[in-house]
Symmetry: C2
Subunit: 103 residues, 2 copies
């Protein structure tokens, strides 16, 4: 499957971030047409110790690259992207990936 | 579930990296006791265009933080960690995460 990965660095105010993320951004994103599955991972630390650079990861699954492209161009996709930029534009790294295998 | 996430930046020599990763490192990692699932994702780009910073992601699932700790201390876990540092020490970012939900 194809997935869009959003990786967020630690926000200055975690409480404000979480409130906006879980109450506004995630519900908005979950409405994007073609989205098959959405998995949110809270980063709790690093095996080397310390909290590390990243705070949260969201993986959004689509059937294909074309489905992902269509999703990002949809009204819901644009609204979610605009919202992400407004509350976390300086924190977010976006990637597109293909899962190769599951063992 | 708890997952250990390894995120690799683009290697200088992708062919050498892939060969070592898929023929040596991944098989070694898949033998770590307690590992429930291992998902490798090839990063194909960024929605903003360009190839982005990262090349590959591996997600390794465990039942709990304790199971993950035990896995990293096992002989197989130490061997995998040592191998990762030797072929990709300057490329790798490691994170521990908790999946919050699946929609």
């Amino acid at each position: 499957m194809v997935k869009l990965i959003a990786l967020y660095k630690h926000p200055q105010n975690k409480e404000e971030f979480d409130q906006h993320y879980f109450e506004t951004h995630a519900p908005m994103t979950s409405k994007i047409p073609g989205l098959r599955k959405m998995v949110v991972t809270r980063i709790t630390g690093s095996p080397m110790g310390g909290e590390g650079k990243y705070y949260l990861m969201c993986e959004m699954y689509y059937d294909s690259h074309d489905a992902l492209k269509a999703a990002m161009k949809s009204d819901e996709g644009r609204a979610s992207g605009k919202d992400a930029m407004s509350f976390a534009g300086d924190l977010i790294t976006m990637m597109i990936g293909e899962e190769l295998n599951q063992e």
